[in-house]
Symmetry: C2
Subunit: 457 residues, 2 copies
């Protein structure tokens, strides 16, 4: 009930806003719009036609537009279109007003030329900050950090630190940690706003600051940064260069986005669909994304088929053998995917770091053997009673044992090897492992069948 | 280099700490240990033997132990063991000192009797808070919220609000938002500490507070809460009951954990390995976790085999048909998994909410058809040139087209139906869809082959 009420409320509000835009009622638009959270503003803005968007640019200051723009979670390629709709000076002003890290996200989606032209007409100070951030490689700490933090000195009082804080609060992206630097801008300590507020006004910062600062280096992988922030429950984390200079900070809201991205990525790859989250406009673009993997798998499947072709003689003698092929291949695929997922996830969460690789392989091998034995015995019995052919049961059961053992090993070894060779192990998707295991299972099953065909009824 | 240096440093420090514990040097232990971040303290503590843990309980106050305990991310079942090692009064004191939501996490893992006994000897106020939180169902907003927030009134000045804040800061879990409530404890506004600090001391709170508060209800699903906090970039979110009373707040650190959990869960389920993250001690426990799914799939596979058995006559006439079976089944499994993953992820991220179900099904159907046509034509050509049998190529190609179309539809329909029936769609794992699609592909391929066998060479 409450939810439906809320929904209706929202629809009425949106109707009013659109009405105000269409009829040029700037005051009633602003009265309503400026009360909204920037995220809701962005969602509303995202639904508008170009004609109405043009009015919004007129009704909002560049600063107000900046807050909205920071919350746009649209397809990245649209940033450029939106900017080119605006008056260039307005766009440049808006970019200057945005938090530097968000502005960098926008600029990263534009052509080199466009970036240069905006940076030229932008506020000099903001442009300098942004230029510095643009240098860092994607997916590193440097690429997601911001330079809008509050820095203080160790030899000042709490009172004077609070004074600095009050002045810088409107500009800083997060004010809940203050970073203590020395004359050379090297990071020497950190203090939370909580500790600052509780402390006596005349206390010196160096008395209450924490000197053991957990920080990350500019070149560190963003996934590693996310792991650290999650472990330590930080709201922001300082980023330093190799000489301990404070370069910027990373805030928790960006880390939340990183975590979401990385989780989606691992998931997409396990399913063999790259870039799942960048919404498909239609069936054609969806098909285009899924086809590349499928075509590779198709050729691998053809290879499997040609392997089976070599056993045509065996199949001609005993067509019943074909009946169990999908069962064996399917089981191999399933166990392989399970082992793959455990290892890929272990690498992603860092849990595998502490464990030795050999121990892991031994463990997965034993797991595969246990699984193989359980399923193998079960299959032997079922096939024996169903087909009334003990040796056929034994053959299928033995093939299952061998196949599941090898498939589990392959599922864990392949991502480990890729990780070792600095390839993202998540690339070895479920479908890939499944297809590899198809090949393995065909070889094992038909190999065994050809050897022991004389025992079958 | 820097990293290795850091690692060595850590090892030396740990060695020192263990040495201090073993030789009962309480002062040098505390000097070093209290400088560490609670997360590092917890990691160190987690490696100790029972004998040394007993010393830690003696060397740390219940309050100090509480900070460490809040950072323990060990297997949940161990909480009980650790508590029972402590003196009951010490354990109860420690639980009182913990943030209420973390204490609830610990108590949730104990027997009913143990919970009652600790609550009886605990600090009365803390016990009352915890009792209230214990009521909420798992995975709801209520179960992850805390009651340690800062509440102020609308008709007070910024100065008096800051005074309240200073007093409550040491107890509150987060102080960066202040929640404004009326006499009936109903939530009427929110103000960030940033706005409070920037404001003039004599300003009234109602002048600067935001009245449009984004909140969640106590019974809301934690995944939905995470989605809202991510969208709005909040550090904390108020939780209300249906009459708008402020019941507690949820902090971003808990949301980060929720996101991690939910992502792991979706990933595990796609791979058909439940509970992947609750570490396996050995191969036996790993095998136990993976077997249930495999056995179900084994019987489904047997069913597939019995279906193929019905086409034995066809196979006896044309053994070559068996050669392409794993290819077709494999491709069906792969496309089905892709479609499944897209739909499950769409449901999880909420992206699918806005889209109509029928539109989605139509889109997936078209995608399946496009993928099927592309792969089908390719297969027809390859098989034709390889086997020099045009009709065989046509048969395999047509089977691929039909199979991939149906498999894509099945991959998207099954999770949608499950979602409709309030079953978690992620339960329809990749292996499950793959096996279902094995059955579909066998029926289509051999059905077609039986009909058109007279055309084959």
């Amino acid at each position: 009930m409450a939810e439906q009420h809320e929904k209706l409320d929202k629809q009425i509000k949106e109707k009013m806003l659109i009405d105000a835009l269409e009829n040029g009622k700037i005051d009633s638009f602003r009265d309503e719009f400026m009360e909204m959270h920037p995220y809701d503003q962005a969602k509303f803005f995202g639904q508008l036609e170009e004609e109405l968007r043009a009015k919004v640019y007129h009704y909002l200051s560049p600063e107000e537009m900046a807050a909205l723009f920071e919350n746009l979670k649209s397809e990245e390629e649209e940033y450029g279109d939106l900017l080119s709709e605006m008056n260039p000076a307005y766009a440049a002003d808006m970019l200057s007003e945005m938090y530097a890290d968000d502005a960098v996200d926008v600029l990263n989606e534009l052509d080199k030329e466009q970036v240069v032209s905006y940076l030229t007409i932008m506020d000099k100070e903001a442009a300098a900050e942004i230029k510095e951030l643009l240098h860092y490689e994607e997916y590193t700490a440097g690429s997601i950090m911001t330079t809008e933090y509050v820095a203080i000195a160790a030899n000042q009082t709490v009172r004077s630190a609070m004074y600095i804080l009050k002045n810088e609060a409107p500009e800083a992206e997060i004010i809940y940690y203050l970073f203590v630097v020395n004359d050379e801008k090297k990071l020497v300590g950190v203090i939370s706003l909580r500790d600052l507020i509780v402390a006596d006004d005349d206390t010196m910062i160096h008395e209450i600051m924490s000197e053991r600062v957990v920080s990350v280096s500019v070149s560190e992988d963003q996934e590693e940064v996310a792991r650290k922030m999650r472990d330590y429950d930080f709201l922001a984390m300082p980023v330093i260069d190799f000489q301990n200079h404070l370069m910027g900070i990373i805030t928790i809201d960006d880390i939340v986005d990183v975590m979401q991205e990385e989780a989606s990525e691992d998931y997409s790859k396990l399913a063999g669909v790259p870039d799942m989250d960048h919404g498909d406009k239609g069936a054609l673009s969806a098909a285009k994304k899924r086809l590349p993997w499928l075509v590779i798998l198709l050729f691998l499947g053809m290879f499997t088929a040609s392997l089976i072709g070599r056993f045509e003689e065996t199949l001609n003698q005993k067509a019943i053998l074909a009946v169990f092929m999908p069962l064996i291949a399917g089981m191999a695929g399933n166990t392989g995917t399970q082992a793959l997922a455990v290892v890929v996830r272990g690498i992603a969460t860092g849990d595998l770091k502490t464990e030795s690789k050999w121990k892991l392989i031994a463990k997965e091998g034993s797991t595969g053997l246990l699984i193989g034995l359980s399923c193998g015995v079960l299959v032997t019995l079922v096939v024996y009673f169903w087909q009334d052919d003990f040796y056929l049961g034994l053959l299928v059961g033995a093939a299952i044992i061998a196949t599941l053992f090898v498939a589990t090993l392959a599922g864990s070894l392949i991502p480990l090897l890729m990780h070792k060779m600095n390839i993202d192990p998540a690339v070895a998707s479920g479908p890939f492992i499944t297809t590899i295991n198809d090949i393995i299972s065909v070889l094992i099953y038909f190999g065994m069948a050809t050897l022991f065909i004389s025992y079958l009824k």
